[in-house]
């Protein structure tokens, strides 16, 4: 009898375990199905299918789709499928999960941290074999993309923050004829452009040093500051220019009062819309990127563009500002590296980049394109014209890319804000950053 029960039991168990193993292996199959997805897009009649990820959402992906279409039209051996809305998070997960697409467009600041983790394929041998030259790009763009002597990505459309945008009507009303050229003039004009009601509340503000956001990189660059000393292998947040920059920003907080200013700011409308404070004139001047309020610039628009002012007595620093680019790279686990390189090499070329720039009002990363008549003489591109000129300034810089850059930038933001609020002196705050970040240098962190 006991034996019989045991048999029943073992049959039960067997059935159960088969069911369980079955369901687990189904999960396994599902997982394999996902992972192997790339294989379905393999060779079909001599054409290699590759997948290209970019972060632009449906509303903004017109320009990149035009470029991909152009490539597919002119190339028979490789066919590219572009997938948009693949933001930082999705890219990170795909790279960590080991099933990335063949080629990815991302922010240039991601390249070195990801390369440091071995997730990116170096381009050195491709560059050599194709006789490709990275000297064609705007100087400075490659620094974010090279690490330990290897090239990991190529720069795509460029972003530049080196303009002073201003509301033309506010200037007229205050009797200001031309935009300020130096930082002292900026400070003086900001006072003229500020209005308060009888109760002392701000109703129009001249300039806010941390609007649209607190920028820990732009301001030091304006003052000629440095973030890293490669010879000494030291981070240099305490560079005198960095401290001057914070002290200058602090002056506006003292002028307006932090609470007054922040309260006024909380009433601002959405950026880039007709309620944008610079468009309405609530804010008279703003530091600007090439894309900031583009549709409101130009001869007939309410917003004027000027180079950002330089520190008094330092005309050699004119044209300083922040430059960054999108970067295109091939993941180490890409399944079609050769085909991906063919597309990459083509898309960063002058003609495709001009196509992209014209479709999307952006700045190409190839120096020659900045003066190419087909781009700069296009009447549609007139609002971009000042920025094509600014892009060749030698004073544009970037935050040095490193594996610890995100922590470094965050520390600069956290401590810098304390300075603006008057909780800490600029020197003490930057010493604090140095103390926090220096241990991370050379640690592979």
């Amino acid at each position: 009898m006991e034996k019989g029960v045991c048999n029943v039991k073992s049959r039960w168990l067997k059935a159960a375990s088969v069911a369980m193993v079955g369901s687990i292996s189904t999960f396994g199959l599902v997982a394999c199905g996902n992972g192997g997805g790339g294989n379905n897009t393999g060779n079909s009649g001599g054409t290699v299918e590759i997948t290209f990820w970019h972060p632009w959402t449906a509303a903004d992906q017109g320009p990149i789709n035009a470029v991909v279409d152009e490539f597919n039209k002119t190339h028979k051996d490789v066919h590219v499928t572009a997938i948009g809305n693949q933001n930082n998070q999705k890219q990170t997960i795909a790279l960590a999960g080991g099933s990335p697409p063949d080629i990815i467009l991302t922010a240039s600041t991601n390249i070195i941290p990801w390369a440091g983790q071995g997730a990116i394929e170096p381009l050195d041998s491709d560059i050599k074999q194709s006789n490709f030259s990275t000297a064609q790009f705007i100087p400075g763009l490659m620094t974010d993309l090279e690490y330990n002597g290897h090239t990991y990505a190529l720069p795509y459309s460029v972003g530049i923050e080196s303009a002073l945008l201003y509301n033309k009507k506010d200037f007229q009303a205050a009797g200001i004829k031309s935009p300020p050229k130096t930082l002292n003039e900026l400070y003086a004009d900001a006072q003229k452009l500020t209005k308060r009601d009888s109760a002392g509340n701000i109703t129009q503000i001249g300039f806010m040093p941390d609007f649209p956001w607190f920028d820990p990189v732009f301001w030091p660059l304006v003052f000629g500051g440095k973030f890293y000393d490669p010879a000494a292998k030291q981070v240099t947040p305490t560079d005198p220019a960095n401290i001057q920059a914070l002290e200058y920003e602090r002056k506006f907080y003292q002028l307006y009062g932090a609470n007054q200013m922040n309260k006024f700011k909380s009433g601002f409308g959405k950026l880039g819309t007709p309620n944008d404070p610079l468009v309405t004139g609530q804010l008279a001047m703003e530091m600007g990127w090439d894309y900031t309020d583009a549709q409101y610039r130009g001869d007939n628009g309410p917003i004027g563009v000027a180079p950002f002012p330089y520190p008094d007595g330092h005309p050699e620093l004119a044209g300083a500002g922040l430059m960054g680019s999108d970067a295109v790279f091939i993941p180490a686990k890409s399944k079609h590296k050769q085909a991906a390189w063919e597309f990459l090499q083509w898309m960063v070329g002058e003609k495709p980049q001009i196509l992209f720039s014209k479709e999307g009002n952006s700045i190409p990363s190839v120096t020659a394109a900045l003066t190419d008549p087909s781009l700069v003489d296009d009447p549609k591109m007139k609002v971009m014209d000042p920025f094509f000129k600014m892009a060749s300034s030698h004073n544009l810089g970037a935050f040095p890319a490193s594996t610890y850059a995100a922590k470094y930038a965050q520390a600069l933001i956290d401590e810098g804000q304390k300075v603006l609020l008057g909780q800490e002196s600029a020197a003490a705050a930057m010493a604090q950053v140095k103390q926090q970040i220096q241990p991370l240098v050379g640690q592979g962190n």
Binding site: M1, E2, V5, C6, V8, K9, W12, L13, A16, M20, Q89, T92, L95, A96, P113, W114, Q117, G118, A119, W213, F214, A258, N259, N262, K263, F264, K265, S266, G267, A406, K407, Q410, I413, D414, Q417, K418, L421, Q423, Q432, Q436, G444, N445
Partner: protein, 311 residues
Amino acid sequence: MSASTVNANLLGIRSRRRKALLVGLLFASPWILGFLIFQLYPILISFYYSLTDYHLMSAPHFTGLKNYQDLFRDPKFYQSLYNTIYITIFGFVPQLAFSLFIALLLNMNVKGQSIYRTIFFLPTIVPLVASSLLWMWLLNGEHGLVNEILRSLGMGQPAWLADPNWTKPALILMGFWGTGIGTVMYLAALQDVPREYYEAAAIDGAGPWQRFWKITFPSISPMTLFQLITGLIGSFQYFTQAYVFANDPNNIGGPGGSMLFYATYLYQQAFSFLDMGYASAMAWVLFVIVLVLTILVFRTSARWVYYGGEK
């Protein structure tokens, strides 16, 4: 009855029991597997990761106690801990008292009692993100309803979400709105207090104040203990409201880091910096802190918690 039949019966019972156990386990297996794979394994592996340098894309690299050493030297660790303790003492504790106060009011025998009860519970139904977004409008420094009211009363109007001195009070203010669950639980406990106690106390001449402290409070003390412990744990995981209020993934701590709570800082380490080793170490330190606090609360509870039928 012979010995052998007894033996056979026993065997029958035992094997039937064993079969029932196996069937039961089988039915519970989806949960058991889920627990093992999605909870126990991550919990255990996170302890290993806390001893490594791990940035997701390459294999973890063993570094011993380095993450813990760095953590105890990290000023932002202490800042986030300070903010978390602040919101616990000045937010959670008064909110607990508030929910008891409301429960006492709702327990009074008045007309329309169930309507009032519904009204006080309603805000709890709104998802936390939605109510946080709503409160961002109410607390807007320039045009917010709260400041409009303060203005009409001739009082100062703080820049609630922009001024580092006011962000935590803003969060606490919003917290009072969401005390519905605590109120309902207290209400249930209040209805369990035997009426005879109050009658006896009334005969002995005890006033309302004495009745509350001598009868009500001790009678519902197990509920207070329960809410205190679950609330403490919840408070140390304070995240959603602060993340929504800061409204900027690049500045997750809000103005001057005034809303950098322990959980938001952990999130920043894990998902902004991808420093999973450090974040895992933070998670384990949080576990130890909450464990110690819970033990402390339990230890002191002997002095102020009374269970029915015990002294």
